[in-house]
């Protein structure tokens, strides 16, 4: 039959209610308590699966970059408005205080110039103190840097001297060796020597490096 699931469910419920209830007065339903059984029917399928059953339902949603941007903008805007309001109230307060002060100043005669001079002298003294401290610090830094550079230069010089000595030794060694090198003059002697005395590496060696056995070179 062409009946939807929800409709079928409804029909079934109606049948059950007929068996349980009976019509009393007009527009009212009376329940026969002897027939009443506590039944919990299946949830209709059209409602679908509960969203809280999915694992992602309880996952924490962290704020994205866009959220952070929009929130910061909102926060700043709110703060600016709040500050402006506070400033407005503060102005009113100050105005009230000034009005009260004018009344008292006329009585006390406030020495503005003397107070200014006092403040300036205190300011200069503090500045000088700080200047001396800063200059000492800068000088210390300069001396430390100079020392560091000097030590670096000295180390480099030492290394260069050591290297120079090693190179000199190498050169002297090569100069001594060069006496036995081949030149155009002693060429024939060296070649004839080499060919007359061919070297043979066909031998086996003991643990201590002593030659045990030697086999002759055969063509």
């Amino acid at each position: 039959m062409g009946m939807s699931a929800a409709c079928r469910q409804h029909m079934r419920l109606k049948q059950i209610l007929k068996s349980v209830c009976f019509a009393g007065e007009q527009g009212s339903i009376r329940v026969n308590p002897s027939c009443l059984i506590s039944v919990r029917f299946r949830k209709p399928k059209f409602l679908g699966r509960a969203p809280s059953k999915e694992p992602s339902y309880f996952a924490k949603k962290h704020p994205t970059e866009k959220d952070v941007e929009s929130n910061t903008a909102l926060y700043r805007n709110y703060n600016a408005i709040l500050k402006s309001l506070v400033c407005g109230f503060q102005e009113d307060l100050l105005r009230k205080q000034q009005l009260e002060a004018t009344i008292t100043s006329n009585e006390l005669k406030w020495d503005e110039e003397g107070h200014h001079r006092k403040c300036m002298s205190y300011n200069e003294a503090e500045n000088e103190k700080l200047r001396t401290v800063r200059m000492e610090r800068i000088q210390d830094e300069i001396t430390a840097r100079q020392k560091f550079e000097q030590t670096k230069v000295e180390e480099k010089e030492k290394e260069a001297e050591i290297l120079k000595g090693e190179l000199r030794k190498q050169v002297e060694k090569v100069i001594e060796e060069s006496k036995d090198w081949i030149t155009l003059e002693n060429l024939e002697e060296k070649i004839t020597e080499a060919i007359d005395n061919p070297i043979n590496f066909n031998f086996c060696v003991d643990e201590k490096g002593v030659i045990i056995k030697r086999t002759a070179q055969v063509l």
Binding site: E177, S178, D180, W181, I182, T183, L184, L187, E188, K190, I191, T192, A194, I195, N197, P198, I199, N200, F201, Q217, L219
Partner: protein, 137 residues
């Protein structure tokens, strides 16, 4: 200039012709400006495998070692010269320092106290630390 060792396999000659062939190569090296420190000959030998060079197959050859100082830039020229030289079958060059590198002094084997090791094994200290090795076949 780095120090190289050239190993030459030369065509099998008589004594006098062999001297001449070596002489030609050394004179060429000296004229080019390289240092030749030493010459050694390893005698005449059978080659480990037949080598084709200059349109001939060679089964025997005479070996020689040259100890030279040479510029790195001129090494290609030198290689070309040896490939074109008809007296020479094959040439290989190696760095002298690599072949004759001084070996590091060895202090010998370390003494192992096996009794102590066995006790540790019995206690199971080492057993847990040893990883199971898997060998691929």
């Amino acid at each position: 200039m780095p120090r190289y060792e050239l190993a030459l396999i030369m065509r099998l000659f008589g004594r006098e012709k062999k001297i001449e062939a070596l002489k030609d190569t050394i004179v060429y090296l000296l004229n080019e400006g390289h240092n030749v420190r030493n010459v050694k000959s390893l005698g005449d030998r059978g080659l480990p495998y037949q080598i084709k060079a200059h349109g001939e197959t060679h089964f025997k050859g005479s070996y020689a070692l040259l100890d030279i100082d040479c510029k790195i830039e001129d090494m290609n020229l030198l290689r070309r010269y040896f490939s074109n030289n008809k007296n020479i079958i094959r040439m290989t060059q190696t760095k002298y320092e690599r072949t004759y590198a001084a070996e590091e002094p060895c202090d010998g084997m370390e003494d192992v106290d096996y009794a102590k090791k066995l006790e540790e094994l019995k206690r199971g200290k080492l057993k847990n630390n040893v990883k199971k090795q898997s060998f691929k076949i």
